[in-house]
Amino acid sequence: MIDSGSVKQMAGHPFDRRDFLKVLGWSGAAVALSGCGNTSVEDGRETVVSYVEANDYMVPGVGVYFNSTCAQCDAGCSINGRVREGRVLKLEGNPDSAINKGRLCGLGQAGVQHHYNPDRVREPLLRNGNKGEAISWEKAYALIAEKLAGVSGEEIAFLSGGVSGHLKVLLGNYLDSLGTKNHFVYEAIAPSVVRAANLKAFGVEMPRYRFDKAQVVLSFGADFLGSWVSPVHFSQQYAQFRKGVNGQRGVLIQVESKMTLTGANADRWLAVKPGTEGVLALGIINALGMATGEVAELVKGYDKARVSRETGVSTGQIDKIAALLKLRSPSLVLAGNAAEGYAHGSQNAAAINLLNQVLGNVGKTIEAPVSVPFPQMVPSKGNTVALKNMNDGLAAGKYKVVFNFAANPVFTAPGAFKFKDNFAKAGFKVAFAHYLDETALQADLVLPLDSALEDWGTQVPEYMTEGAQINIQQPLMERLHANTRGMGDILLGLIKQKKADEYKGFEDYYAYLRGAVLQNKGALGGGGVEDDTFWNDTLTQGIVKLAGTTTSLAAHASAAGLVLPAAAEADEHFPLHLIPGVTASLRDGRHTNQPWLQESPDPLTTIVWDSWVEIHPKKAAELGIVEGDIVQVTSKTGSVKAQVYLFPGIHPEAISIPVGRGHDAMGRYAKGYGVNPFQIMDAVFEAATGELAMHETRVKISKTGQRVLVVKDEGSAGALQMGRKIAGRVSTDQVDLSKEV
């Protein structure tokens, strides 16, 4: 492709990045970058550079590619943005990244719709009654200074999503300057319990998983192909795992109560009774007969008959799994959302890690991770404990000034927290926002952010692969709206209110970033290289690859303290488990306003633009429910109404509603589509970590008498091929993969 050719040409000719921005069309770029002065795309129209004089990398009609980092989730995939005539058109994967190797998921590609979204906030807004009034940045800064005056550190709270890189450093410095320790790092969906269990068993929170080396993957609800940790990277490893070595194809067994995308790709999908994942893991250890000492003692009671009775998995199946795991080694056993989402989630995860250890996988398919040698830049990982702590503080009316960044707690907090009411008790609420989401709507001051394709930054992924890396985020085009700012620039502006002297050397966040990178040039592999050359090379590549430091891996999963609770008693008032479905494209709902994602059918149900209640056909028949019935789903906390979809990939004792939809804000593409199951989530916590146990909510359902046509991509034949060979399938004993190209 011509376009790809031009990238190669460019790689050999580093050029000045700011110069590039200037010729993007409007000369205001440099001013805009400096983070002061109001520029709009109309300003300076008279000095638009004519194409006759354009730099040699600006050819009308030819796309150029610039490297940056995807900000749609935290996996840290590197992107290659196609830019033509100053506009970014498409995001592709950067082939040089060890994480995504040129690939990009649908969520990542929809990043352009975050940037071009018509519902972005464009001006700083100050609450005036029920309305937001546009104010100047100067006034906004002054207002923050005024509100912070005389407020002690204890009375300030900063809620954010996961942050890493230089932004984390700067944010930390700002919070120090305010004298507050109240930084609550919150992610609604994060593998927090698994991290804690891993730390206990392996000495690290997130080891490096080697799907490509495993012959069998046994996953307890880890949706690694869809939404878990680093899905694009795992998908690539999965492809290698399926090809296998010498035609010996890897086998995937997925155990969960509600089928995920990964489960839909399993060789064997097992519907376990909700919450009994740990019991099955111990049952498999028992059936393996490989354990000794106290582990053998622990699993003694978990004979097949009992395990089968408690989990609903047949004894024959347990035997088959044990036999396969014995025969094919190494294997890899994973604990995911479904295993950790219960009050005894830590115990489930510990049992699963113990199975890994008994199988001898530690060190083979579970490897020591690498991290960057700059601890201040490693990601602060969000969890739900942070939300609870902040919510408690808010409820007690502790905070006079509250900041919110990269999180939407009013939408994602469980209904039982009554977060919205508590948030209202805070004195002055500042939201840094791209859109007027539910949380921004409750704020007193909303500061509009640059899109991820307009802003500068560095990002350090939690999960790294070959070697460590620091990802560079850089503008792929000029600001779309003159009055938005980068988060780094805003923080720098705020920190200057407190420590003007220390930061006066940095005109803007770009200068700060450049300074910080060049200061560590040696450690970043640029020893002896000219500053400008190193900086330009770094931006050209979009990734700084480092040797990284390896944390050693332990194998001390043990039977000590591992106690699984007896099977949960059925609750006669709320007989069903509510499983919040996490989908690959909507995740926690922060990108629901990207229309490609709304119209991209859910892979399993093929439903678009709406929420649904997944229910097993057997259960539905029992309750007299058919597809499209609107049912009311009621928990102790609240209730929602949604359409029913009959889905065989769910345990009959559970129902599932996907999270991410049900916004009552966030613009035309999100507002009013679907329901939000977070609203009916009970406040039940994981015993060991205090994390929110997202799978513990029990519900009942009742018919409302209404029925709708489910809007879905699936045709009238449903999931049937009607005897034709459309999607063909063959079993391993009928195929010889070793002959394949």
Binding site: I2, P231, Q236, S585, W596, K618, D713
Partner: protein, 284 residues
């Protein structure tokens, strides 16, 4: 093209493929999709929206069956009588199969859809009169009709969103049929570049948007007549021949251990897309 001109030159417009009246030289674009690698994640479909200016029609129009996804992922589960889909679902990326003897081509009253020398089933938007005969005759149901004037629809493409549109791909107005083109704009660019350098497009030089995005590399695309191309090697290894409606390997007494097949081959449309069957472990 006037009607008389059309009638006179019908044989040119509608030459018989895959017979040898016009050998594919030097290009025959084709695909191979490994269903065992496909996870059903939809990255391909979204890449297609981004590359080809496909309108997002919204909930109501989707309900009316007016969605425009050139690349869709079908999913099946048809093991009758089972309580659970315990061997997972079956996913199938489906787009225009670029048939060599395409049923859609013969029924177009104005020859708006025809065959190119490099083996694509092309759609000429400004010749299309919207009879929708082609869509009715397509066995794969991969043709999409513009029931509305999407480019001027404020909900579909507000001014901001229009800036994302790919200038290499025309937008389609109301009353026009459209479908997957194998990213013909990318193919043309590559061909022009190669021609300028006096060579043919090399393997790996051009990728379709779906292929490029696919996290598991399930899709391979290339020039079938180039023996060095991966797609040629895959078709050859799977013993799937473009111009056959029954593959020799399926006629043999011993069941073939190969998993390459084309969908609805018996209809003699000679699709340019080969699928590799999904594999399931027999030991669990």
């Amino acid at each position: 093209m006037s009607v008389s001109n059309l009638l006179e030159n019908w044989a040119q417009v509608r030459h018989e493929h895959p017979n040898n009246d016009k050998p594919h030289d030097p290009y025959k674009w084709a695909m191979a999709i490994d269903l065992d690698a496909c996870t059903g994640c939809n990255a391909c479909s979204i890449a297609c929206y981004a590359e080809n200016n496909i309108p997002v029609v919204g909930k109501e129009r989707f309900q009316h069956g007016q969605q425009m996804h050139w690349m869709r992922v079908e999913r099946y589960w048809d093991e009758d009588g089972r309580e659970f889909p315990d061997q997972g679902f079956q996913f199938l990326p489906m787009m225009c199969q670029q048939c060599e003897a395409a049923p859609c081509e013969t029924v177009c009253p104005v020859a708006a859809t025809n065959h190119t020398a490099d083996g694509l089933n092309s759609q000429i938007y400004n010749r299309c009169i919207g009879s929708r005969y082609c869509s009715a005759n397509c066995p794969f149901k991969v043709r999409y009709f513009n029931w509305y004037d999407y480019p001027t629809d404020e909900m579909v493409w507000p001014a901001e969103m229009q800036q994302q549109m790919n200038p290499d791909v025309s937008v389609r107005s109301k009353g026009v049929m459209e479908k997957c083109t194998f990213c013909v704009q990318r193919l043309s660019a590559a061909k022009v570049k190669a021609k300028g350098e006096g060579r043919i497009v090399a393997e790996g030089e051009v990728q379709t948007a779906c292929q490029q995005a696919c996290p598991t590399s399930a899709i391979s695309f290339g020039n079938l007549v180039n023996p060095d191309s991966r797609v040629h090697k895959q078709w050859a290894a799977q013993q799937v021949e473009l111009d056959k409606d029954k593959q020799a390997k399926n006629e043999e007494e011993e069941a073939s251990e190969l998993r390459g097949y084309r969908i609805l081959e018996e209809l003699r449309a000679y699709p340019s897309v080969m699928y590799l069957e999904r594999v399931r472990e027999s030991a669990v």
